[in-house]
Amino acid sequence: MTDLQQRDARSAVSVRGLQKRYGELVAVRGVDFEVAPGETFGFLGPNGAGKSTTIGMLCTLVEPTGGTALVAGHDVVTERGEVRRNIGLVFQDTTLDLYLTAEQNLRFHAELYGVPRGLIGDRMHQVLDMVGLWERRASRVNTFSGGMKRRLEIARGLLHSPRVLFLDEPTVGLDPQTRASIWAYIHELRQQEDITIFLTTHYMDEAEHCDRIAIIDEGAIVVLDSPEALKASVGKDRVQIRTADDAQAIGQLRDSFGVDAAVHEGAVTFAVTAGEQFVPRLFAELSVPIESVHVSRPSLDDVFLTYTGRTIRDAEISSSDRFRASPFAAAARR
């Protein structure tokens, strides 16, 4: 067994030294990562960081200039057809035929992907139910809202039971409420289907939905871990408690727990690692009655700042003149 084949047995996506350059410009500088089956894996980074180029290479739309990638056990360069059969795709921009009905769009996809005829009806019903569009199946897509179109695209991406579903910025351009509803559907989907999800986002809060996140900046992976671990690596949680006797609480915290506390915003405030695990100990051992507790985690914004030295907002501004064009758009144009 070759090294490549051994990798595929374990991973839904397996990437080694993957690189893409456009002339002088290096869009992706040799990234490595593995995505386990059933995992929801996120690429977090500013626009132009190389997220879409990476997803383009994994989907066989962009040819890598270096390294290898296996998706569902198939090489994205030499086994393009096999890869395509095993993946579902939801692009940043809509790829629906707006003049067809929801059902006609799905039927087109089913035929194109060779879904066995006898199963098309049931499967279509199922995916439309999952995204709450069954009742609207006979409506033309140009009557749909932005959120409904995105949901229909997710349903279509799932229609042929792919092993890996790629979502490129699944909620970009949607209002916050619709974004939340898209995530609700994605969570439901994870429960219903045995599927690996690979997504990109530049929204910090959305990365929280992933099992693991790779933070990507200027074409390279800066750090890769679970959101929890990433935040833990950044620093301690902030705990604020309101007590009957603040001075005594501060004294006890120093003596019994070795924690320096001070009063901020009218509450006893201190920083500890794993704040949620610390709180039960606090209740058990502190003799001063506690009136309220508030634990706050470092945010992914803090994580991005720590690892890249800038906020994601700063990064978006500086990268805008570096590399903007989506490789999908480029691929379809050429």
Binding site: C59, G81, F108, D122, G132, S181, A331
Partner: protein
């Protein structure tokens, strides 16, 4: 789940997940892909009633306005055949030309609105997509031609079943070749506006150099060469031939208005003419596939 928007519907009781196992690709799968791309063209065409009607305006203008207006000039030279009857088969070709080109151009829309990507990322060969598109364009063009053909009675052309069938096949063939040609052009064009301009620039010369509007008699050498180099000529001549075989007029006048097409004195048979159109279409189809294959 409280954040779902109002346009959503609560998920009903869950059925068992229908697991799809896609079969290995193969010829049967490719045929399915060709068919569904073709079907989409049919659906889109049937939805566009306005396009079907507006596409009738141009032929009517050519046959009834131009054909009537110019007939005072040509009365002496067309014998007992009216200019309208002469122009009619040319106008059939014209309808096919414009409709097929318009179908090919729709791939630029597909690209602009993203749907092309849905087709290009599917696990089917590009050739299946392009072939489906071509057959779709050909069918739509032939249907449009048949709609124009409904006017035959008004220009002294009888509704003979043999003629109608012959014309249908010939129009299908011409439509195929034009769509393939249009796809070659469209492969590199990203914007609809640019495509529209380019189309006008290409269609007009093709139309004027094909014998659609005049018989290939006594042409100056340069024009004669250009007309013989234009593949559309080899579709227009058989169309006119098929119509003239069923028109009641003096054989002499008809022969004068549709003289045999010759290559260095050799009369090119109708089947060879149609073969020229078919082979041209296949070459364009092949180039179009290569062009769209470069897209990734």
């Amino acid at each position: 789940m409280t954040t779902r928007t109002s346009d959503s519907v609560a998920a009903p009781a869950r059925a068992a997940v229908v697991e799809i196992r896609l079969p290995e690709g193969g010829a049967a799968q490719d045929v399915r892909a060709v068919k569904v791309v073709w079907q989409r063209e049919m659906i889109r065409f049937s939805q566009d009633r306005i396009r079907i009607l507006t596409a009738l305006v141009q032929p009517i203008l050519y046959v009834f306005v131009l054909g009537t207006g110019l007939s005072s000039l040509t009365r002496g030279s067309t014998g007992d055949v009216s200019l309208r009857t002469f122009i009619f088969p040319g106008v059939l070709a014209l309808s096919v030309l414009f409709t097929a080109m318009f179908s090919a151009v729709s791939i630029v829309w597909d690209r602009e609105f993203g749907f092309l990507r849905e087709m290009l990322v599917a696990p089917v060969p590009r050739s299946a997509i392009i072939l489906g598109k071509c057959l779709g364009g050909a069918t739509v063009a032939a249907i449009q031609g048949l709609i124009v053909l409904a006017l035959a009675g008004l220009v002294e052309v009888p509704y003979s079943p043999v003629m109608l069938a012959t014309l249908a096949v010939e129009m299908l063939l011409l439509g195929f070749t034009i769509t393939a040609f249009g796809l070659v052009v469209a492969a590199r064009i990203k914007q609809m506006q640019a495509m529209m301009g380019l189309m006008q620039m290409i269609l007009m010369p093709l139309m004027f150099l094909s014998g659609i509007l005049y018989p290939l008699v006594g042409l100056p050498r340069w024009l004669n060469i250009l007309v013989h180099l234009n593949p559309i000529t080899y579709a227009v001549h058989p169309l006119r031939q098929a119509v003239f075989e069923h028109v009641h007029a003096s054989p002499l006048a008809l022969a004068h208005l549709n003289p045999p097409l010759t290559w260095w004195g050799w009369t090119v048979p109708t089947l060879v003419q149609l073969a020229v159109v078919a082979v041209t279409g296949m070459i364009f189809l092949w180039i179009a596939v290569l062009e769209f294959d470069r897209a990734d």
